[in-house]
Symmetry: C2
Subunit: 398 residues, 2 copies
């Protein structure tokens, strides 16, 4: 390719990235704001909503069966598109996964939102690329869309960009998409913010001086424990999914029946404390409210249970809340500032479970500021090092 | 491999990493402290030393010819070892490159030190790995050694770790070596610091608020200009090396003759301002002393001239000084704080010329603190995006 057509193509990708960013950012704002309203409503009225969780599950499954059964594969479809095993991701996936996630959260399932935004972004961007017959449509447009989805929902564009790049191939980074993804993530974040979606961030005043063997040893331990926790999450999620799929082949029976004990347990244990995104645990952790020693493991178990039986939603916010609640406890144990440890857990458990390294470091930067960056790098690196290359995204290997 | 032998092997790598870190850190301290003493001496007595630059060139070349001609390939040998094209890097490379670099700097050549430390670390670590018959000797021990070399000399262990990982393959990151490299880099930094080598860092008080299209446009321009500058450096260095090698085949004639105009010009233009590492420009930039608009390009030209005709030394510190002096000027032009722009240039020009992304971001963190991290990420990403995948290390592609 000569220089002129190369620059022309680059410009085309940038225009595409901005367009994708605006559309995905707007969808993210809608998805995110409704989700927050739903979550607030459920927090108050959970006792009337949780009993209907099994029925919500049946409705979600029926919806997918009626309109686009293929879309049930969710994130897997995105990775298949990346590997060019599939031509197109059905556009119906977008409303289905949005409504499915809203229903899951309204009736008290424990799940996230980020994977949903990433799927929306990828689906839309891939479709736009196909329409305009972009040469490198497959991977590049996917990365642009994933970055927009993540960046629009959390308004953490740097993290979103690296997440999209890192997640597409295990253990490798492909930087080709770097600048277009950065453009789409920033555009999406700006758009969703303009449309009234708020960014979550914490002013972190605590710091730890990395001197003295005791502190260094404690920080290394934090990295190892957060890494193993992320590994436990991705390992048990994939095992439980496989187990459920094997035991109850019929998807209606699976979600309908298994949602009964799920709803009962969610109700019985601290009345819906473990329903929804887990932002209650996150804000408890960063405002000094009560965090129980078992919060992290219960949130972990409820989330993998919810997702394994077929509810819709992401994993990232629950991972943040698992990391936060574990961090508070470990801070107490190791004699380090609990909120700082919570912040480190917030980033590192997410990185470990998604098998990403730079994305969680950037989360540390964009959510908690730059003051403790060295700690974030070290803890996330160690967590990444002990995660055994496992990821919640089964199709990540190319 | 079963779990027990896997953990055993991991432990072996960590022990190796610590041993490599201690030895390389100690050599770095010796190399670095002597180099600083030599630089200070030359700064005062340059008028008596510069005339002998051609003779120094002949002595350096004669030394290599007498003891280990193969070692002249320097960094190329390291990459060949990484690709298993060569079995062993001669241990004689270590004293040769140290003495060669000392002589280059004593008599006023314009060159760096970092590439030297990286070569020392890689050579030593590779030899140790071979001695203990480590299974993955090739790549992993090289990365451990390179991280130790860089980390020991600059005491920036995070940057050193990512540099070693990123530099070994173009455009891809291989994270397998992450934790052992982190261990060796920290050990080396600790060792060299204990042995009296000082770390360079700047307390950066300036910040820029990333709002307003004018500021955002200026920051994007900074990234593009720094990226193109790094690209100019690596492009012209490789072209000039090839040109000189073609025109004057005999290495003695090349260095002996071409060092005469080099010495004359170094003397004539601001009396040795562009000799040595360029730390004079760096400290001028960060203490508000005079930086000329042409400092960056003259430093660039003198450095590629020095290295292209066969003198020894690295490229990284000159790249830092090129970025700093360019940043001060651009800050003035764009109406941004000059010292902050200098800091961004310090990191981004280095990243562009070495085709690394995370390493320069970590340089921003470890040298200038976390307050401006978002700016460092954006500017380094853009610089990386426009560098055209060129690198000063010709053998980087695997």
């Amino acid at each position: 390719m000569d220089k002129k057509s190369y620059i022309l193509q680059l410009l085309k990708y940038f225009v595409m990235a901005v367009i994708v960013g605006i559309i995905v950012g707007a969808i993210d704002a809608l998805f995110g704001r409704v989700l927050i309203a739903i979550s607030d409503f459920r927090t108050i009225h959970y006792q009337y909503l949780l009993p209907f969780l099994p029925i919500a599950g049946l409705v979600i499954t029926a919806m997918y069966y009626a309109f686009s059964k293929a879309s049930l594969k969710g994130m897997k479809l995105v990775f298949e598109a990346g590997q060019q095993k599939t031509d197109a991701i059905p556009l119906l996936l977008i409303p289905l996964v949005m409504i499915g996630t809203w229903l899951t959260h309204l009736f008290g399932g424990s799940a996230g939102r980020e994977g949903v935004a990433v799927q929306i972004g990828a689906t839309l961007s891939h479709a736009i690329g196909r329409k305009f017959k972009f040469p490198e449509n497959g991977r590049l447009m996917l990365v642009i869309g994933m970055a927009a989805g993540f960046g629009g929902l959390f308004q953490t564009p740097l993290s979103a960009t690296f997440f999209a790049i890192e997640v597409i191939v295990i253990g490798k980074m492909d930087y080709e998409a770097l600048l277009p993804a950065l453009a789409s993530a920033y555009t999406a974040a700006f758009t969703s913010h303009s449309l009234g979606l708020e960014k979550f961030s914490v002013v972190m005043k605590d710091t730890v001086n990395l001197s003295g063997t005791k502190t260094i040893a404690a920080v290394i331990c934090l990295g190892i424990i957060f890494g193993l926790t992320g590994r436990l999450f991705s390992f048990s999620l994939s095992k439980l999914k496989a187990f459920m799929g094997e035991k109850i082949m019929n998807q209606f029976l699976r979600i309908g029946f298994m949602a009964i004990p799920l709803a009962v347990l969610l109700f019985a244990v601290h009345g819906s404390r473990y329903s929804g995104l887990g932002t209650n645990l996150i804000s408890a952790g960063f405002t000094g409210q009560t965090i129980y020693g078992y919060d992290w493991i219960l949130k972990l178990l409820f989330t993998i249970f919810t997702l394994a039986i077929g509810f819709q939603g992401g994993e990232v916010t629950p991972l943040f809340s698992i990391g936060t609640s574990l961090g508070v406890i470990l801070g107490g144990l190791f004699g380090l500032p609990p909120m700082l440890c919570a912040a480190l857990g917030y980033a590192a458990v997410f990185g470990s479970a998604t098998n990403t390294l730079i994305a969680p470091i950037m989360i540390g930067l964009e959510v908690f500021g730059g003051a403790n960056m060295v700690l974030f790098v070290i803890v996330c690196a160690i967590a990444y090092g002990v995660n055994g290359d496992l990821s919640i995204y089964a199709q990540e290997k190319l």
